[in-house]
């Protein structure tokens, strides 16, 4: 019966879409689990780093590293961490919205700013709205390595050491749980003082070779590890957001299919009724 062919075609197409979104949902679920594991795996390094940096802040070294000394804000560098791919709900747009609000606030305070972007979406965002982008890293993939981020981080740190910027911030998403991600702007440099009360006496390390060299490297690595953490956390967020977005897309497709099926059935019944009526009418006429 040639009833509602268009509807049948439409149903089939929605079913295909649903298959795709469901597959993407499952892929995102498994990738999210792996990303969370990586997040956990990176924790010990960051913890240890934090301890060492806290010790340094308390050790009474005669050398004060510029990263530990705050200065008045005239120009700010922001590292923006985004995803490479879309289809992850409002993850990136929420982050950018927060960033724009922050930018407006800075403009009000007459603070200048420049950006480094990680991920393709942030690069595209600044291409669209303009803004000074001094460094860019894209295609970080699902398993980023710390060394992929060196360049971007170093641009900012160099600018800070040269004095052309007075603070470095990082904008990324925090993984609260698989349903919630929170966009967040954090200050990287100057480092916020850490409090560790376990070592409250006058002491200092033996530095080899020189306090300055050791601290330079250590603090650089520390900032790198913080950025790395933000990036892998952002990837976990990306996968979680994609999982949720794809789940709701699959659900919506299911709803759509149901509605279309109902319309199709009605049309079919109407056609049958009409045909019967015609036959009966024809028989009555004879």
């Amino acid at each position: 019966m040639a009833v509602g062919k268009e509807i049948r075609v439409k149903i089939a197409s929605v079913q295909n879409t649903q298959k795709i979104t469901r597959a993407m949902e499952m892929v995102a679920t498994s990738k999210m689990r792996k990303a969370q594991e990586r997040m956990r795996a990176a924790c010990p390094y960051a913890d240890k780093m934090r301890n060492v940096v806290a010790h340094i802040a308390q050790a009474h070294s005669e050398y004060r590293h510029p990263f530990l000394i705050p200065r008045p804000l005239k120009r700010i560098g922001v590292i923006v961490v985004s995803t490479d791919r879309g289809l992850c709900g409002g993850l990136n747009s929420n982050l950018f919205r927060m960033l724009i609000q922050q930018i407006k606030k800075w403009q009000g305070d007459e603070v200048e700013f420049e950006f480094c972007t990680i991920g393709r979406k942030a690069a595209q965002f600044f291409q669209r709205i303009g803004g000074t982008v001094v460094g860019q890293t894209t295609r970080i993939g699902d398993q980023p390595h710390a060394e992929q981020l060196i360049g971007t981080v170093k641009i900012m740190l160099n600018a800070y050491l040269e004095g052309s910027i007075d603070a470095v911030y990082i904008a990324s998403n925090n993984f609260v749980n698989s349903m919630t991600q929170k966009s967040d702007l954090e200050q990287l440099v100057p480092l916020k003082p850490q409090n560790d009360d376990s070592l409250q006496y006058h002491w200092d390390y033996i530095y080899e070779p020189e306090a300055k060299e050791v601290m330079d490297q250590l603090l650089e690595r520390y900032v790198e590890s913080l950025v790395y953490q933000c990036v892998i956390e952002n990837i976990a967020c990306e996968q979680a957001a994609r999982m949720v977005a794809m789940k709701s897309a699959s659900d919506n497709a299911g709803k759509l299919i149901k509605e279309l099926q109902l319309i199709y059935n009605k049309a079919r019944q109407a056609a049958i009724t009409q045909e019967l009526a015609e036959i009966v009418g024809g028989a009555a006429a004879v």
Binding site: R38, A41, A42, P44, Y45, K48, M49, N51, V52, H55, I56, A59, C116, T117, A123, Q127, V133, V134, G135, Q136, T137, T138, H145, A146, E147, I150, G151, T152, K154, I155, N158, W203, D204, Y205, I206, Y207, E208, P209, E213, V214, Q217, L218, R221, E224, S225, Y228
Partner: protein, 139 residues
């Protein structure tokens, strides 16, 4: 026998954590051996082997490509780099990130290029199809 706690970590994962009788590490000024109760020390490491002597006498070795070594009287922390790092390599990474940013800024008219590339691609695909069809007819 007194022991010292050793943590070896890299940015991407934890490599070793446990008690040791003695630790040897490739500090930048030469290999150091650390026994329990060593004075607090902070140093850079070059590429080499971190050897951990377990209380049982067994020895475990881990390769590190460089990093930092923190020694406190009861704790040794090895913060290993994940890759070989050198000043000029880092600078190269900086240049790369900068270049990418500049290129994408230059490409602000990039959308136009993209659509042109797509058009070209479609044309080429059509050509290819025609050639294949001709070949099939010939064969």
């Amino acid at each position: 026998m007194s022991t010292i706690h050793v943590d070896i970590v890299s940015a991407e994962r934890e490599i070793f954590s446990g008690e040791a009788a003695m630790v040897f590490a490739p500090a930048i000024l030469g290999e150091v051996g650390i026994a329990p109760g060593h004075a607090a020390m902070l140093t850079r490491m070059g590429p080499g082997e971190v050897r951990v002597q377990l209380p049982s006498g067994e020895q475990q070795a881990f390769y590190v490509s460089g990093g930092m070594l923190e020694v406190l009287p009861k704790v040794v922390t090895v913060l290993s780099d994940t890759a070989v790092r050198a000043h000029d390599l880092d600078e190269a990474a900086v240049l790369k990130a900068k270049q990418q940013a500049e290129e994408s800024l230059k490409d602000r008219s990039g959308k136009l290029d993209l659509s042109r590339a797509q058009a070209e691609l479609a044309e080429l695909a059509a050509q290819l199809q025609t050639i294949q069809r001709l070949r099939r007819r010939g064969g």
